[in-house]
Subunit: 434 residues, 2 copies
């Protein structure tokens, strides 16, 4: 990410692109252009003075549930807004590297959703197919990158909010394992598993941003047994209902890894599926009530102005989940985590489609909760299992982006990015003998 | 623990002592003497053949919530009983070392209590003062050791059940950090923090037993900064209401450490107190409902035969605690754990009185819940904080045993035992100059 233009010029271009794109629903609070243009002059001066600022000449967007000093943090709910005095550490780390923040982006309210429609700031249209959803909850961040407005965007990921919108908009979504990037200054969804994630148009850019965002890695990433890359790939028949043509696209992505010399092996997805179902069907959803439930209840009592009814319904229903069930679920999660990690074995990554379909706005409106649940079938489990993941484009199907996801053990983010590049870069053709 | 008598002879003496002591309430299922005498002949034969069995010639008692093959596991509730096919790993490890199990011991039902009175098998009388409580929940195990019937006894410890009865009966209670001894085959109280603990009359015997019981320790225990032992000791005035003479006895114990050359330093007990209060006042008690709540509810509906009313009340009240409160409590516990460990700092141990008073049966009956809570003021926090502890006798006050507790970071059990010996063995007198 070297500065090909000055920071001032990059900001100017971003605002021109914002005007041309005409997607006002992407933003909750876009900084006035004059204000945003004042900042990069300083970046350019520092670079001119010889300072190394790896993100000089880039602009970024920040999901509206992450604190940006001087802009309201809304979490997609106007009544919840507060004005943070300082940047969240994730924002501060990117800014210290020279990027300029354009503003805060739209999201499914309280990061509760994978659709990008659950917001009083408007449903976010897909970057490439405006009659379809952008995916969420980091909807505005993903679209800002996909439209070429921002070079980078911060999202959050609890159930898949940093990956599903990457897949649906044809960009890269990198989600570290829980704990790798500080979540201070982020409105919690499920505080114990929330992650700050990053969107970019290339794996290289996403990885470089994560290196700036993350706390120092442990002394050594998990050891790997020598030999070719090993990728666990479930049989396409085991993936359940997918959009037309997606099973074939998934198989093609797996084939591309095989062609690059990777060993593919089958695995039993059952423990991953069970954990994914627990995220919303069990007691874990109560953590969303811990975070914002009392606020939501109080606002609902006053008429619910600005409250998304689907989100309010999900959070309200979490109020009465019993703690004894949560203990049972936590114990079951421990059991399933052991099974899931055993299935992963010594594989470097698990390859999955990032999501299962790409609905229109009408399809989501017809079944807001069920349609959302279908989107998270493959993403819901990663954070509960303590895993990291990168969602990358893997071609198009019927003119729409199709994406796959590489999922790996904690602290293997760099390894996943190396694997992801096998898909996104021109493949090295191996000589075949015999 | 070398065999001073044959194993057969040791078992014979144990049954003679059982008859002489006339404390039938100590046992839930005492093995028939003939059966118990058949087993040690094999132990003696193995020793005669040259095998090293570190517990040959010893007998032990097992708390009635731990599986002993062939004896019912009751957890203090006759209707809950099941007949385990195999020993719990903790029992199996002691047996493999040559000890003979005499039977299962009485306890506060479902290990819910620190009094030893909450059992349909009878209230357990103190070994030394029969009008007073034995303490619990490992009441029978502690009294069997204190009366000299058993050399060792297994207990469990969630809120202090492996330490309070040690203090009240003048013996040693060693409680490893959660996770050091497997809890398979143990009826859970609060599964996420339950520990198997050991009672003995000396620190050496307790430590030797723990070495047999524990999973292999991590490669290295936590490093310590060189220098004299460092013991954190709260000011006696900060300890709240204690039985008459106990503050002075506590100060005398601290003085003895100082006389042995240890550095004593003050600490702020507030985070420990807060965590202790959370164990029963917050949502953590819901884990007891997860373990046995449905059973208790069903039994209560059928008339509650054999159900202790105080225990049933505590577990039943845990049914409706909300999961969102548990998430809040878990986050608060993380916060308080960091504060508590900061207070501990580089101290090798925290010295505390093990408990606060030694009530009569009448005093407990007058306030069953409040009186119990007073007993756990110092013990309740250790397991939630992930700490280990050893409770040791520290003299007598008004003819009754007084005990103190050394509490330390996980994997410092051996270090705590070394410190405990400074109290229980004749002190090394240091020359004083000047």
């Amino acid at each position: 990410m070297s500065a090909v233009v000055t920071a001032v010029e990059r900001v100017r271009r971003a605002y021109a692109r914002i005007a041309a794109a005409d997607r006002p629903e992407v933003w909750i609070d876009l900084r006035p252009q004059a204000e945003a243009e004042a900042e990069p002059a300083l970046v350019d001066a520092r670079v001119a003075a010889g300072e190394h600022l790896p993100l000089a000449g880039t602009v970024c967007a920040v999901k509206g549930n992450i604190d940006v000093a001087g802009l309201p943090t809304t979490a997609g709910c106007p009544g919840y807004a507060y004005l943070p005095e300082r940047d969240a550490p994730a924002v501060a780390r990117l800014r210290a590297a020279g990027t300029v923040v354009l503003g805060t982006t739209n999201l499914d309210q309280f990061a509760t959703g994978l659709v990008g429609t659950r917001s009083p700031y408007g449903a976010v249209r897909n970057a490439l197919a405006p009659e379809r959803i952008a995916g969420g909850s980091s909807s505005g961040s993903a679209v800002a990158v996909a439209l070429g407005i921002a070079d980078l965007a911060l999202g959050t990921d609890t159930a898949g909010s940093g990956r599903v919108p990457a897949a649906l908009n044809g960009i890269v979504g990198l989600k570290p394992a829980p704990g790798r990037v500080p979540t201070e200054g982020v409105v919690p969804a499920c505080a114990s598993v929330d992650c700050v994630s990053v969107f970019a148009r290339t794996v290289d850019e996403a990885e470089a941003a994560l290196r700036l965002l993350a706390d120092p890695a442990p002394a050594a990433p998990p050891a790997r047994r020598p030999g070719p890359w090993r990728i666990a790939v479930p049989a396409a028949a085991r993936l359940g209902t997918l959009a037309d043509g997606w099973a074939e696209a998934f198989t093609a992505a797996a084939d591309r890894f095989a062609a690059a010399g990777a060993d593919l092996r089958d695995l039993d997805l059952t423990p991953f599926d069970r954990v994914a179902a627990m995220l919303y069907e069990g007691a874990f959803v109560a953590e969303r009530y811990t975070a914002v439930g009392e606020f939501v209840d109080a606002l609902a009592e006053k008429g619910g102005d600005g409250l998304d009814p689907v989100v309010a319904g999900i959070i309200g229903a979490a109020r009465d989940l019993p703690a004894h069930r949560l203990y049972a679920d936590l114990a079951e999660l421990d059991r399933l985590r052991a099974l899931a990690l055993a299935q992963l074995g010594d594989a470097d990554a698990l390859l999955l489609p990032t999501t299962t379909w790409h609905p229109t706005f009408a399809e989501v409106a017809a079944d807001p909760v069920g349609g959302n649940a279908r989107l998270g079938r493959f993403t819901n489990s990663a954070n509960l299992l303590g895993l990291c993941a990168v969602a990358v484009p893997a071609g198009t199907v019927r003119g729409l982006p199709f994406g796959v996801m590489l999922v790996g053990r904690a602290d293997t983010e760099a390894r996943l990015c190396t694997l992801a590049r096998l898909l996104t870069e021109p493949p090295v053709r191996l000589a075949v003998f015999g």
